[in-house]
Symmetry: C2
């Protein structure tokens, strides 16, 4: 078995350390590297300081074949990365006319004049291979030193992704014949981690040594990740598939999808297959379910619209929920959720309508309906179903969990489960 | 000037390295530590492997006063952190009856039986101080070694936050007299980074050595972060305030808020002050503006509702946009945006209504209306205003930028700018 190629990701920027920016770059880069067979052994975030950058770069020596670095290449003067890079690789900054021409054209397109800051971005270390950045003004830089590759990219996610897709990933693929690493992700919903682990105890102990199982919980969803490592893709694929099939036998009622696909994608695909449509009527989720559904490209083929009925008057006037029902059962009740779903389905003419009404918090709870209470309903030609759940105290987490619970109920109705 | 206390954050988990989970924990922890005066010198993410954990813990020696570690403490068997911790600190796992009682009670509340996995969670290293976790089943652990503090917490964000707020932060505050570090964040919108840097060149060069300026761009918004360091809080506060005031003089038209407050919070506060209300009519943003507005606690005091009019029939039937206008100008037009806003305001009876119609992509663009085109309108008692912009090609980024542009226009209308 060949040694697995290793990679280290370094992200530079004070904003990452003091938590003003969440480091989504390294997650995305990790996924891309993992897909082409790299083992990401470490991610490091450091200050935009000469000493810290030099130290982090030096530490990678002998540890990995590839080091990807983002950040510190913006047009403003808080960025000292480029000078430090020159020091590390023993080179100097020179003006690159091709980059300058690109920057000039890009600024023209945006109707901004080229200034000194932009001009500085066209300066690159003399000894590097310049990676053209058509998504922004800061070029990427590729170095090789002591048998390791160093690729520097700006920290703006869109620009980093452009450079990764256009230059870094294709070049790495060319250079390294990959060890085969296959990830399979089985998405489950409806059982907490410890319960799931109990159900899967036998399965886990039956796994061959080259397949690992991990539990990744998030917002009530638990991803089961199987990671297989080997040299023969076909044999590994087969072994992975067999084990995934086993999972489907053990917990069929808990699996709702695969491959990182969230409920909005799974639900959307089901509607597409069936040529059916959906709409939402949302109180406490405030448009989040509509937002999730419409974050999927092509969702206009099945998503018709939504009424966010935050105020009771909207529930009454637009969705046609009788004021008497609201005052009798309360706005947060399965009765109101059902009428919201039916009203939305009626005015938008869809096959399915999902409704939510609840208390996201932090305020508004009562003894009988504490913060975290959610009533959801799904209306369709087969009638209306509803559920009531109680989750936690955090507003953002609640909105997310409410939305997932509603989409799960919708999925079940669509597949007739 | 006393030395600034240093901290290192270590997050453990394969899912972080292969990018299946974005590390939001370390960002949150970094912000908390920064607030109490720590300099977070490094964040590291590593595999859930004995060797890697031991190596990362050993590397912190002599570098920082505090090491915070999350992850690897879940109830499932992919977690080997606790055994490794014992090895590092030269201790062994013992059953903690108090923790076991808590776990048992928690599982009972959720109607799940206590199983072997849960019981294992109640085992803790003999030499540590146990940090009670009332938010979950895995306790936190506090060690002191070679003059450094090590605090281990589970990776579930909600549980980590509980332990940080209840135990770690209060204890660190007690132990260390803080160097004063003050951050001020000025939120700007409407000028790209290089342009802003040009406008602020004189300001930046006039800053005293103990105040740093950083540009943090995200989705069209650029945060200007001023970081001041000193020992006298009052003097530092005054100097920071003076410099913030200077910024307000130089770029008054670009500043929309402070302190990380996004447009939905700023807009919401303005409406609260004025006792006014808002609603949205969203096509391409698919409910995201409503979602943003309702993610703010207490938003029910000014947010009434939304009509997500993805399908043209919803624009016509619910918002009352005449079919002729849609066919004459196209659904993506300022004319339709204006009528959507006016229709929403009429049916929901609000002071302001924000409308969007555009092409988020990746498909659906034409030569005259490429992907990234957005028309936004805001209707109020003062009439209706509209704007048209063209952004980029990425759907999720576009939805976000469209929403921000719409909220910015709404804000301007609310303050009568």
């Amino acid at each position: 078995m060949p040694a697995i190629m290793k990679a280290i990701i370094i992200t530079i920027g004070d904003e990452l350390l003091i938590g003003q920016t969440v480091d989504t770059n390294s997650a995305w880069m990790g996924a891309e590297l993992s897909n082409i067979g790299f083992d990401i052994i470490r991610k490091i975030s450091i200050h935009d300081l000469r000493k810290d950058i030099l130290e982090a770069l030096a530490e990678t020596a002998g540890k990995s074949e590839v080091v990807l670095i983002t950040g510190g290449l913006g047009p403003t003067s808080d960025d000292i990365t480029k000078q430090t890079i020159c020091e590390f690789f023993g080179t100097r900054l020179i003006m690159n006319n091709e980059v300058l021409a690109m920057v000039t054209e890009m600024m023209k397109k945006r109707n901004f004049p080229v200034n000194e800051n932009n001009r500085r971005q066209a300066e690159v270390p003399e000894s590097c291979l310049v990676l053209k950045n058509e998504a922004g003004t800061a070029p990427g830089m590729w170095f090789e030193k002591d048998k390791a590759i160093f690729a520097f990219m700006p920290g703006v996610p869109y620009e980093m992704k452009y450079l990764m897709k256009e230059h870094v990933i294709p070049e790495l693929k060319k250079r390294f014949t990959s060890q085969v690493i296959i990830h399979r992700n089985i998405m489950t919903y409806g059982a907490p981690e410890a319960k799931l682990a109990e159900l899967l105890e036998g399965f886990e102990s039956s796994l061959p040594s080259y397949i690992r199982l991990a539990y990744l919980p998030a917002s009530g969803i638990i991803k089961l990740r199987l990671t297989g490592t080997g040299t023969d893709r076909k044999a590994l694929d087969k072994a992975m598939e067999e084990n995934v099939m086993k999972l489907y036998k053990i917990i069929p009622h808990l699996i709702f999808g695969e491959n990182e696909e969230p409920f909005e994608v799974v639900t959307g695909n089901l509607l597409l297959e069936r040529k059916q449509t959906i709409c939402t009527a949302e109180s406490c989720t405030g448009g989040n379910i509509a937002h999730l559904l419409t974050s999927v490209p092509g969702s206009s083929r099945y998503f018709i619209g939504s009424v966010v009925a935050y105020d009771n008057k909207v529930k009454e006037n637009i969705l046609g929920v009788p004021a008497e029902v609201i005052s009798k059962y309360g706005a947060v009740s399965e009765e109101v959720a059902r009428l919201m779903a039916e009203g939305a389905r009626r005015i938008m003419g869809t096959d399915f309508a999902v409704a939510t009404t609840g208390i996201a918090g932090p305020d508004g709870g009562t003894e009988s309906k504490p913060v975290g209470t959610i009533c959801i309903a799904v209306a369709s030609a087969h009638g209306t179903v509803s559920e009531k759940h109680v989750y936690g105290n955090e507003r953002i987490i609640n909105i997310n969990r409410f939305s997932i619970a509603a989409l799960s109920l919708a999925r079940k109705q669509i597949i007739g489960q």
